[in-house]
């Protein structure tokens, strides 16, 4: 079975602050894979490179070296046009906030990737996706009229409505939510990982990380540990150990 994401020796550096300042390595030699049906959490202290890793995996941030394959396709050498098409058809994003285009209603946001792909919009599928996240009754509302948790759920509905499921990237999806709204979003993300779809979650939330099949502990741009079937206590211990060993 083809991994939905596979990276080999991925490296990323940011330029230094001044002209003569040395560049700053952010990710070093990252090799990982995400299989369909799998939910993978990336944890680590602030500044460890978690979000940068997510953006590199999604092709939102160019890499300096190494390989990133999404659904079997190498994205580091892909043209912008093909990358847009791949993003539209196979990727979904859930950010901490401002997930949605503010001028479009919830229903229009869910259908946006289909519209951008010039595909016929299956309104039944859009409504089903809204129903799956429990927001069928809020489809006509603008994002500004929805709570943070509801906006996150709409973002997930957008992923569910895509006709060719691939990978969901979630960056601190529960960071701005209360406990119950966060739990609802996590359950939806968990259920989004299906036979054809993988989920990558960057989080500080131990409970969120513990819901994943695997947890990658990142420190200074390097994967220091990998946990399988971890509890929140295991995740906390791994993060603390990584901090001490560094």
């Amino acid at each position: 079975m083809t991994s939905i994401i596979a990276t080999t020796d991925l490296c990323k550096t940011f330029p230094g602050a001044g002209r003569r300042a040395p560049s700053v390595p952010v990710l070093s030699g990252i090799t990982l894979s995400v299989e369909p049906g799998e939910m993978v959490a990336v944890v680590g202290p602030s500044g460890s490179g978690k979000s940068t890793l997510l953006y590199c995996l999604a092709g939102l941030e160019p890499v300096n070296s190494g390989s990133v394959r999404v659904a079997g396709q190498e994205i580091t050498t892909m043209s912008r046009r093909r990358l847009s098409a791949l993003r539209r058809e196979r990727m979904g994003f859930v950010f901490q906030q401002y997930n949605l285009v503010p001028s479009l209603s919830a229903r229009e946001n869910v259908a946006l990737p289909l519209r951008l792909a010039r595909r016929r919009i299956d309104h039944g599928a859009v409504d089903a996706a809204l129903d799956a996240v429990g927001l069928a009754h809020r489809g006509g509302h603008l994002p500004g009229r929805l709570s943070g948790g509801q906006q996150q759920r709409i973002a997930i509905a957008r992923v569910l409505a895509a006709t060719r499921p691939g990978i969901v990237f979630a960056d601190e999806p529960t960071g701005a939510l209360d406990t119950s709204a966060g739990a609802a979003v996590l359950r939806l993300l968990r259920s989004a990982a299906s036979r054809e779809r993988g989920v990558v979650v960057v989080t500080h939330d131990l409970e969120a990380a513990a819901m994943a099949d695997r947890v990658l502990v990142l420190r200074d741009g390097v994967i220091q540990r990998e946990l399988v079937g971890a509890t929140p206590a295991d995740v906390l211990c791994a993060i603390q150990t990584a901090a001490v060993s560094a």
Partner: protein, 440 residues
């Protein structure tokens, strides 16, 4: 409080720069008009009358553009910073202080901009008077007489106009619940304030007074009143902008199907959603079209009634329409520039959803065209209405509508809006997606 005012001015430089530039342009045009009026007092006879009437006309025509342009820009200045004002309240700044700070900022920027504009215009006073003299025949040479009082008066009037234009927005900024502002950074468009209603009623009364029994008046009186009819009607519609412009925009954009292109779909929704910005952009362009076309329509109508072609000296046209058109053009461009800060995120969100860069650029092009077409529709409606009324009043069969003037100003305005909209969109595409999306 002074630290808060200055720090915020520096942080929101793009927004305040726009208002500063517009105040400067208004100050420069205002000084030229006022100098004609003030200098007339030093002469007598025809020279005095020519100078005074020229100054009055420049100021009357320009005041419509200034009212629309400054009102839109000042309101937008406050609307764009709604989120910042909410954050101030969250960190403990009293709501009343928020309003005070915003008003102080408006007054500072208005005064500084007007002073800069006056300073920039000062060296041009002598050449301006020499050039204006070319439009007059048989009058003695006049010199500009501009004293400190004229300078200070012009600066005070422009600063006061900026202050009053932003007053309602500032009061609303201090009353909005912080959490509402954070959740919905773009304020919902709300009807008209009392100042706008007063201006609308005044402009309507002026329109009625100018048009009342115009057909029964002498030809000279018809000319004197008729030439101001379309500008007065323009002022009335411009004052109703917050109600009227969104209606027209929604009505005609609904006729074009959303499936035309995803870029059209995005632009249409954005123009309808960001009504403060749309109103602020449409107003000045509509005024520019209606004033220019109204002038030529009036001239052609009275020329036809007199049975001879009515020639208009280029100097007279530039003298009467130059100021309003410059202020209108500056208002439209500056407004788009001020509001372009939101483009980075909008472009990033569309790209994250799988949109191509081409889609983002095309959406910006559509957006500029939506604003330009709405303004042209309104400006044309005013001109055609005025032309039909004037034609009936002077008893000619065919209304003399100045289509070339409508076309020239509309195309020029559309080109200006395209440049002002597309350049920030291209700039937004240069910002790394990850950085924009990571910012909260």
């Amino acid at each position: 409080m002074i630290r808060l005012i200055l720090a915020d001015l520096a942080r929101s430089a793009r927004v305040w720069t726009g208002l500063f530039v517009l105040s400067a342009v208004t100050g420069a045009v205002g000084l030229l008009g006022v100098s004609l009026l003030v200098s007339s007092g030093h002469y007598s006879g025809d020279t005095r009358q020519l100078s005074a009437s020229s100054g009055q006309m420049v100021l009357t025509f320009t005041s419509i553009s200034v009212f629309v342009g400054l009102a839109g820009a000042a309101n937008l200045t406050v609307a764009i910073q709604r989120r910042s004002f909410a954050l101030w309240q969250i960190v403990g700044v009293r709501p009343s202080l928020v309003g005070l700070v915003v008003l102080a900022q408006l007054a500072i920027i208005g005064a500084a901009g007007a002073a800069t504009g006056c300073l920039a215009a000062a060296p041009g006073l002598d050449p301006f008077f020499t050039w204006v003299q070319g439009a007059w025949t048989g009058s003695e040479r006049i010199e500009p007489h501009v004293g400190t009082a004229t300078w200070l008066g012009t600066i005070a009037v422009v600063a006061g106009a900026v202050f009053l234009s932003g007053l309602r927005g500032a009061v609303r900024a201090s009353r909005v619940a912080p959490i509402d502002a954070l959740r919905e950074p773009e304020p919902p468009q709300r009807g008209m304030g009392s100042i706008r209603w007063v201006v609308a009623v005044g402009a309507l009364a002026g329109t009625v007074a100018l048009g009342w029994r115009l057909g029964d008046a002498s030809f000279e009186e018809q000319v004197n009143r008729g030439m101001f009819l379309i500008p007065a009607l323009t002022g009335f519609l411009a004052a109703l902008g917050p109600i009227l412009f969104p209606l027209v925009l929604r009505a005609w954009t609904a006729l074009v199907p959303a499936r035309l292109a995803s870029s059209w779909f995005l632009a249409r929704h954005d123009a309808r959603y960001r009504l403060s910005r749309s109103t602020a952009v449409i107003g000045p362009l509509m005024v520019g079209i209606a004033l220019a076309a109204g002038f030529y329509t009036g001239a052609a109508t009275f020329g036809a009634a007199a049975g001879a072609a009515w020639t208009t000296d280029p100097e007279v046209v530039v003298l009467l329409l130059g100021g309003p058109l410059v202020v209108s053009a500056a208002s439209a461009a500056v407004t788009v520039f001020m509001a372009s800060g939101a483009r980075d995120r909008a472009a990033a969100l569309v790209q994250a959803a799988g949109g191509q860069r081409r889609t983002v650029i095309l959406a910006a092009v559509w957006e500029a065209l939506i604003h330009a077409i709405t303004a042209t529709t309104l400006g044309t409606a005013v001109t055609v209405t005025g032309a039909i009324y004037l034609a009936r009043a002077v008893r000619i069969e065919t209304p003399q509508i100045a289509w070339p003037a409508i076309g020239v100003v509309a195309v020029g305005g559309a080109a200006l809006l395209l440049i002002a909209t597309v350049i920030p969109a291209l700039s937004a595409l240069r910002t790394p997606l990850s950085r924009v999306l990571a910012e909260s």
